[in-house]
């Protein structure tokens, strides 16, 4: 089992402390939902974990070795990152885009091997974009493009995947499909850390939730415990409707607490 641990991590932009002495760790074999309001520092945490953002203070440790002392390339084989929004600057075909996920496994002048091609096909099938393989990425819808980029991350076959809002632009069917896929990845032994805003998806699919607020961890543990009335009020300033369907929880944000306060005042 591999562990990605963060110790006393701080990131400061100007006078704004985006991450404030954060301590958290992620292990392989479980699907962890990273939740929290906008500006809580979720994206900054993921970017710091892959080395795109320098921490102002603190350490990131992958399997007992400081990230600073890790080799770029071997790290890239083990840790994949799927950024928010889905950028693709040139109109590649979906297949070529997904093939970029194999780069960490190829030496500079090596051609795509048969194994690579098989992994790429499998990744496209998993993300349900196999039928779009020869399409121009720029002509896809937002959700289709996101799934193509997810397939790219799957093609890396990482030990741990850090995905920033992968379901944000997807239709309900594909939201469920991608969450099931991420869950299956975790069951097979990979680690998955996924930023989510949909509390029902978080409660239903994740093995563990980490609730961030103002650069700190407000709650960490079983979804039911983390999504307590108190935690939701303290972080999102909302109350929620809860229920169970066939034993599985659903949770729907319902009332805006801040707005209520203001309207109560004369």
């Amino acid at each position: 089992m591999s562990t990605l641990a963060v110790q006393d991590l701080s990131v400061v932009f100007g006078s704004n402390k985006v991450l404030d002495s954060l301590n958290v760790s992620f292990t392989t074999g479980s699907l962890v939902g990273l939740i929290g309001p906008n500006g809580a520092g979720k994206t900054t945490l993921l970017r710091t974990l892959i080395g795109a953002q320098k921490p102002s203070d603190g350490k990131i440790i992958w399997n007992d070795v400081d990230l600073k002392n890790q080799d770029c390339r071997s790290m890239a084989q083990e840790l994949a990152y799927l950024p928010q929004g889905g950028v693709c600057h040139w109109p590649l075909t979906v297949e070529r885009l997904v093939a970029l996920g194999r780069l960490p496994h190829q030496s500079p002048w090596q051609k795509q091997s048969v194994d690579d091609s098989e992994v790429i096909c499998a990744a496209m099938k998993e993300a349900d974009i196999f039928t779009l393989a020869s399409r121009n990425v720029m002509t896809l819808s937002g959700g289709e493009r996101m799934r193509a980029l997810l397939a790219r991350a799957l093609a890396t076959k990482p030990e741990m995947l850090l995905a920033d809002e992968p379901v944000a632009s997807l239709d309900p069917y594909h939201q469920l499909q991608v969450m099931t896929l991420l869950q299956a990845m975790a069951r097979r032994g990979a680690g998955v850390v996924v930023v989510l805003h949909d509390l029902t998806l978080a409660a239903r699919f994740c093995d563990r939730l980490v609730l961030m607020n103002e650069g700190q961890v407000l709650g960490d543990g079983e979804p039911e415990d983390v999504l307590s009335e108190k935690n939701l009020a303290a972080s999102y300033h909302v109350t929620a409707l809860r229920g169970k369907n066939n034993g599985e929880p659903f949770i729907v944000p319902w009332k805006d607490l801040r707005h209520d306060h203001e309207s109560e005042r004369p």
Binding site: R47, I50, G51, A52, C72, R73, M75, A76, Q77, L79, A80, Y81, L82, P83, G85, G86, V87, C88, H89, W90, P91, L92, T93, R96, L97, L100, G101, L103, P104, Q106, P108, S134, R135, N136, V137, M138, T139, L140, S141, G142, E144, R145, L149, R152, T156
Partner: protein, 353 residues
């Protein structure tokens, strides 16, 4: 599943042929065709000119060392010119493709963003201070230092965001600064005739160069080519943005440094010999990009070859366009390239709507 023409998340849009992302031609075939064209144009360049020389005369002249008039024309006038058209053209095509890949911006071109202008300034300074008369290598080195300053400035101004507007504005600023300093150097010149000559040199030409110019510039250009051509994978990864490229195992600092230094070496050495030949690095990658499925890595080699083809062809054409004094090569490429640039801007504006 209705296709959207342009995603709002990407600030750079490229003219997209809806279903053209898949290349219609094999990569090896494309490289073969372009290489064949280069060989063809090389011999055409040796044959074309005021004195027409046949293919067999060229071959016998290249083989043997007889001191006939034809041999002298070939060796001292046409051969350096034919070689430089290939090396300078390859440099401009390659540098354009590499800069576009690094900046994720289809309008990055050594001439447009001021790299060529600053390289020319560096060479002019070396020429005026007389350093190049004492130490011949100072000319390309001056060009390289000038180019390096320009690429670093452009990257600092426009590298972080792939906005076309920022890049073009930064290019305007760098170009204006280089032009001002070059004009200053010209107006301070004690010898008006020399100033006149430099003015014409700045327009860009491959005429009247000697083999020593080839020896002077070629090693530096080759070094730049090697640095740029080995960046294919990194530029492919940059398609997905800087963060993802980093997560794919590329050390971005090193990638940036290598492209910047490679561009400076190749373009600096080329411009110091040829003057400013604009738009090659814009037109060539743009025309070839669909043929390699828009992959920035594969575009590098074919752009180098395509640049050599276009520059060789243009350098042959300038010999016939006008009677009397030859049209400057840089003027011809600008005459073709500037309207092409306008066309690209119009296309991009349409895309953004």
């Amino acid at each position: 599943m209705t296709p959207k023409s342009s995603p709002s998340s990407s600030p750079v849009s490229i003219i997209i042929d809806e279903n053209a992302a898949k290349p219609r031609i094999g990569f090896s075939l494309l490289v073969g065709i372009l290489s064949f064209l280069i060989v063809l144009l090389f011999f055409a360049s040796l044959a074309a000119g005021p004195v027409s020389i046949s293919f067999f005369q060229i071959l016998s002249s290249l083989k043997g060392g007889d001191q006939s008039l034809i041999h002298i024309i070939i060796e001292q006038i046409r051969l350096p010119r034919a070689i430089l058209a290939i090396t300078v053209g390859a440099t401009l095509g390659l540098a354009g493709a590499a800069l576009q890949g690094l900046l994720q911006n289809p309008l990055a071109e050594p001439g447009l963003i001021g790299v060529s202008g600053c390289a020319a300034l560096g060479a002019v300074i070396m020429f005026y201070t007389g350093i190049s008369a004492v130490f011949a290598l100072a000319l390309p080195l001056g060009g390289i230092v000038g180019a390096l300053i320009a690429v670093v400035a452009i990257y600092g101004l426009a590298g972080r965001e792939s906005s076309i507007l920022t890049l073009v504005l930064a290019g305007v600023a760098v170009n204006a600064f280089a032009a001002a300093l070059t004009t200053l150097a010209l107006s301070l010149s004690p010898n008006p005739y020399a100033a006149f000559e430099i003015f014409f040199w700045l327009l860009g030409s491959l005429a009247d160069r000697s083999l020593s110019h080839v020896y002077l510039s070629l090693p530096l250009m080759v070094l730049g080519w090697v640095l740029l051509l080995s960046m294919g994978r990194a530029l492919d990864a940059l398609t997905l943005g800087e963060d993802t490229a980093r997560s794919l195992g590329f050390n971005l600092g090193r990638v940036q440094a290598q492209v910047v230094i490679g561009t400076a070496l190749a373009v600096g050495a080329a411009v110091a010999i040829s003057g400013i030949i604009g738009f090659v690095g814009l037109v060539v990658p743009h025309l070839l990009r669909p043929l390699v499925g828009y992959q920035p890595g594969k575009l590098l080699l074919v752009s180098a070859l395509g640049g050599a083809v276009l520059t060789s062809a243009a350098d042959i054409a300038v010999r016939f366009v006008m009677n009397g004094p030859e049209l400057k090569l840089g003027v011809l490429t600008a005459l073709i390239g500037a309207p092409f640039f306008l066309y690209l801007i119009l296309q991009i504006r349409k895309e953004m709507r």
